[in-house]
Symmetry: C2
C-alpha cells in the first residue's frame, strides 16, 4: 500500500517536470484583502513546486508590498488611481455596507448590497481596461507564453485575459451574488427547495415560509442578471473580443472552479465534475507563540483565553461600540487577546490585552484557547474549524452574516448583532459557547470532517491547476450544458414539441369523432326531420 502511494506522490511531486521539460507559467488575476491571502497560499505552493507565478497588479493595488521580497513576480500596470484612492474606495464601500445596509431588510437589502457590488465591479472593469487596452503590456503577456490564468471569479477579467492569450483558465471563488456566476456561468443546478441563496442567512432545512423567501430571492437574482451593470460587462467583452459575447458565456469556459468552502462549512448541494471544494486550504498547524504572548496565555490558568479579531478590513469601530465590547470582555473569567487598532477603551478590563496584529492561527491552535470572537470571514471561520474552536460571531458585511448563520446552524457558533448588542449580550454569548460543551463538540465534529478528506484542500487545488497546465485544459470534466441555449437546456423546445404532438393527436381524434358523429348521427336527425 505505502509503495503504491509513494509512487503516486512522487508523480504528483514531479508533475511540473513533465510539461514539455519545464515547469508551468501561471498568470494570476487576483482580488485584494482576504481573497488575496487565500490565493497567495496556492501561489506560494505553486512556486514551491517550481512553477513561475506572475500576478497582475495595478499601481494602486494594496496587495503589492514593495518592502517585501517574494518568489511571486508582480507585473505592475499603470492605472489612474493612487493606492490611497483605491483604499478609500474600499473603505467607503465597506462603511456603506456597515452603516447603511442594516437599515434595509428583505429585497431592499439585496438591492443595496448589489449596488455596492456593481460599484465595486465598475472599478474592476476600469482596471481590466487598463490591462487589455494596454498594447505594450498585452504584447509582453503574449510573449511570456503563460500556460494558465488563475483568477478570482468575483472580480471579472481573468477569463477575458485567458481568451485573449488563448490559454485555459481556472477560478478560485468563495461565491458570487446569488450564485449567479456559478449557476449561469458554471452551469450549477441549485434547487431553491433546499439550497439557500447565498447571503440569505437561511439553512438547508427551511420552513414553508423560508422556502418562499428563498424562491423570491432566486427569482430576484435571476431578474438581476438582466441588470444594466451586467450589460456593461457584456458590451465591454464583446468590444474587446470583436464578437457578440457576454461575461457569463466567457466565464462558462473555465476549466475548473475551485470553491473556497467544503461540506464542513456549507450545506451539501449538487455540483459538477469541474467544481472542487477546497475550503480551508490556507489552514496549517499552529506555531509556538512569542514569549510575551505565551506568558499572558499561560497566566489564564484553567479558564483559558478568548481570541478576538474583526479581520483585516475593519480597523476602527465607534467609541461607544468599543466600550460595550471592552466591558463585556471584562466580565468573563478568561484572559482575552483582542486585535484592535484604535483608542484604548476606558472600560477595558485587566483580563484583556490589545494587539495591533495577532498570530491568529497560532492562537486558535493553542490548547488554552476556549473561544473565538470573529466577524465571520471565511478564512477566519476555517481557522476555527481547523483547530476546533467554538465561535461568537459579530458579522459585519458581505458573506459574513451568511457564514455565521452556517456556523450557527451547525451548532458551532452564537451570533450577536454588532449594532444592537449590549455588554451582557456579548458576555452571555461568550459564556454560552465556553460553558455549554455542545458547541465544542459540534465544532470538533466539523474539524474532524475537515481533517478527514482523501486529499488535503491545498493539494487538490494545486493538483487541478497542474492538471490543466499539463493537459492544456480539463474538457472531460465540462458538462455539455454549456453548448445549449437556455431553452434547450431546460428542454423547452422538446416539451413544446411533445405538447404540440399531444394537442395534434387530441385534435385529430376529436375531429375524427366529430366526423363519425356527423356521418352516422346526422342522418338519423335528418330522418327525423324528413
Amino acid at each position: 500500500m505505502s509503495m503504491k502511494w509513494t509512487s503516486v506522490l512522487l508523480l504528483i511531486h514531479l508533475s511540473c517536470y513533465f510539461s514539455s521539460g519545464s515547469c508551468g507559467k501561471v498568470l494570476v488575476w487576483p482580488t485584494e484583502y482576504s481573497h488575496w491571502l487565500n490565493m497567495k497560499t496556492i501561489l506560494d505552493e505553486l512556486v514551491q513546486r517550481g512553477h513561475e507565478v506572475t500576478v497582475l497588479a495595478s499601481s494602486a493595488s494594496i496587495l503589492v508590498d514593495p518592502n517585501k521580497t517574494s518568489a511571486i513576480k508582480f507585473e505592475v500596470y499603470p492605472t489612474s488611481l493612487t493606492k490611497d484612492d483605491f483604499e478609500s474606495i474600499f473603505v467607503t464601500l465597506i462603511n456603506r455596507w456597515l452603516y447603511d445596509l442594516p437599515k434595509y431588510t428583505f429585497l431592499s437589502y439585496f438591492s443595496q448590497a448589489q449596488e455596492i457590488f456593481w460599484e465595486f465591479t465598475d472599478y474592476i472593469r476600469n482596471l481590466c481596461k487598463d490591462v487589455v487596452l494596454n498594447k505594450t503590456l498585452m504584447t509582453k503577456l503574449q510573449e511570456s507564453r503563460f500556460d494558465i490564468v488563475l483568477a478570482d471569479a468575483l472580480c471579472p477579467c481573468g477569463e477575458l485575459l485567458a481568451e485573449l492569450l488563448k490559454i485555459p483558465f481556472v477560478y478560485s471563488l468563495r461565491f458570487s451574488p446569488g450564485y449567479a456566476f456559478e449557476k449561469y456561468g458554471g452551469g450549477l443546478l441549485l434547487p431553491p427547495s433546499y439550497v439557500p441563496v447565498v447571503m440569505s442567512e437561511l439553512s438547508d432545512q427551511m420552513t414553508f415560509m423560508e422556502r418562499i423567501k428563498n424562491m423570491i430571492y432566486v427569482l430576484y437574482f435571476d431578474f438581476w442578471l438582466q441588470a444594466v451593470d451586467m450589460k456593461k460587462w457584456d458590451q465591454f467583452y464583446s468590444e474587446v473580443l470583436g464578437r457578440p459575447t457576454s461575461l457569463l458565456e466567457t466565464m462558462g469556459k473555465a476549466e475548473m472552479w475551485l470553491i473556497r468552502t467544503y461540506w464542513d462549512f456549507t450545506f451539501p448541494h449538487p455540483f459538477l465534475p469541474n467544481f472542487d471544494f477546497v475550503g480551508g486550504l490556507h489552514c496549517k498547524p499552529a506555531k509556538p507563540l512569542l514569549k510575551e504572548m505565551e506568558d499572558f496565555v499561560q497566566s489564564s490558568g484553567e479558564n483559558g483565553v478568548v481570541v478576538f479579531s474583526l479581520g483585516s478590513m475593519v480597523s476602527s469601530l465607534t467609541e461607544e461600540r468599543t466600550n460595550v465590547i471592552a466591558s463585556a470582555l471584562a466580565q468573563v473569567p478568561q484572559k482575552v487577546i483582542w486585535r484592535f487598532d484604535g483608542k484604548k477603551p476606558h472600560t477595558l478590563g485587566p483580563n484583556t490585552r490589545l494587539y495591533k496584529w495577532i498570530p491568529q492561527n497560532d492562537l486558535l491552535g493553542h490548547p488554552k484557547t476556549k473561544a473565538f470572537i470573529t466577524h465571520g470571514g471565511t478564512n477566519d471561520i476555517y481557522e476555527a474549524i481547523y483547530h476546533g474552536v467554538p465561535m461568537v460571531g459579530i458579522p459585519l458585511f458581505a458573506d459574513q452574516l451568511d457564514n455565521i448563520a452556517h456556523m450557527k446552524a451547525k451548532g458551532a457558533a452564537v451570533k450577536v448583532d454588532w449594532i444592537t448588542m449590549s455588554s451582557t449580550d456579548l458576555s452571555g454569548a461568550l459564556k454560552t459557547v465556553i460553558d455549554n460543551p455542545i458547541y465544542k463538540e459540534n465544532v470538533m465534529k466539523l474539524s474532524r470532517i475537515h481533517h478527514n478528506q482523501p486529499v488535503k484542500p491545498l493539494d487538490r487545488a494545486v493538483f487541478w491547476i497542474e492538471f490543466v497546465m499539463r493537459h492544456k485544459g480539463a474538457r472531460h470534466l465540462r458538462v455539455a450544458a454549456h453548448d445549449l441555449t437556455w431553452f434547450q437546456y431546460h428542454s423547452l423546445d422538446v416539451i413544446g414539441f411533445l405538447l404540440a404532438c399531444v394537442v395534434t393527436v387530441i385534435f385529430i381524434i376529436t375531429k375524427c369523432c366529430l366526423f363519425c358523429f356527423r356521418k352516422y348521427a346526422k342522418p338519423g336527425k335528418k330522418g327525423k326531420r324528413d
Copy 2:
C-alpha cells in the same frame, strides 16, 4: 511537501486502528459475476488493511468457490434453489436478452429489458427473504456487531439489512435502469437535455430528435417507478420494517454511492457530495505472461496481437457466428488470442489461438497488444482504458451497448453488431482501430485522464468506507432533499402559493377598478337614462 503527504498517508494507512481500538467489521451484500469481481477488489483491499469482511452468500451462490481459501469470510445461508438452478436462471435471462431483445426497438426494448430486470429482482427478493426472515441468521448478524453494510445497489436488500442492524451502509453501483435508484433514491438531478438515459446509446451531444427520444425515455422510466414490481419491494420492506416505507426511501439513507465509472468513461453530469466515481478501481499494472503465451505474442512481430474476449457470462455462441468471427480474425495480419470455450470453428486461421481462460489484464498491458475485441463489460473497458488499447465492441446485453456507445463517442472504439456482422465487418473494424492512429490517440487521452486523478479510485472507495465506519456515517455529505416530499422538492407548494398571491392581487385590483368604474361611471349612465 513529501513530509505532509507522508503524514496524511500514515493517517489513512492506520485509519482502521482509530475505531474503538480495533479495525472495522464489514458486512457485504454482493451481486454475482462481473459485479462480484469488481467488489472483491475493494474487499481484498479492506482485508489487507486489517478489516474483517463477511460476505452474505446463498447456498446457491456462484461467487463462493469452496475450493479456494480466502481471507474474506462467507456467511452462507440456506435457500430453496441449487447452484445449478441459480446459474440456469442467469443463463435463461441472458439468452432472452441476447436473442429476444434485438427484435424490439425504442420503448418496447426498454419494456422487455425491464421485464428481465424485474424477474431478476424477484429472485433477489426471495434471497433477501431467506436472510431477513431467518431468525437464527439475523440474531447471529446482530451479535456480530458489524460497523457497515457494503452493498451492490442493483440488487436491493443491503439497505434493508443495514436498517435492521441499525448500521450505516455504502453502495457500489454501475447504474440502475433509467438511473431510477440514483435519481429517486440518491437524489441525483440529471437534466434530460444533456444527460442521456442509461442504455439509450445516446451521447451528451444530442440533436433535437435525440433530445426528444431522451425525454421520452426519462418520462417512461419515471412512469416505470409506479410499476407493480416496484410496489412488491415497497410492500416487502414495509412488512419487514413494520412501518409504511418504500425501497427508494430506504435506499435514500445510503451514506455514500460509489459509482463504478469516472469522466474518462461516462459523460460529465451533475452529482452530489455523497457520490464518488471510482471506475476502474480493479485495474492494475500487467504482470509478465506465461512462456507459451509470451512466445506466441512475440511471434507476432511488428504486427502485434489482438485480444478477444466476450466476458465471463457468455460461454458459447452459435456455430455460424463462431465461424464468421474466426474467418474475420484469419484475415488480419495480427496474431489473435481468443478466449473461447466451445467447438473449434472450422474457419479458424493459423494466426488465431483459442484459450478457455486468458490473463486479460496482463495481455492488455502487453506492449505488443494493438486492439481489444470486447463485449463491452464495464470492467473490460476499464482495463482497455487503463492500458490504452483501442477497442472493437461487439456488445451483447445489459449496459454493454451503452458502454460501447460511450467509447465510440469518445473515438476509442468501433462497434459491430453481433447478430448481423459479416466477416468483412469485423475484420474491417479491426483494421480501422489498428491502422487509423486516431483511435490509439483517443484511448491514450482517456488513459491519461484515468491515471491523472488526485487519488486512485480504489483508495477513494476504501477511504469512504473507512470514513463511514470511523464516523458512523457521513451525514455532512447528505443533501436536505431527502427530507422533502416530491412536491416540496420541486417547490410546487411554493410556486402554487406565489401564483395564488399573484392571482389574488390581480383579482383585488380588478375588483377595485370595477368598483371605482361602477361608482364613478354608472351615475353618468344613470344620468343619461334619467
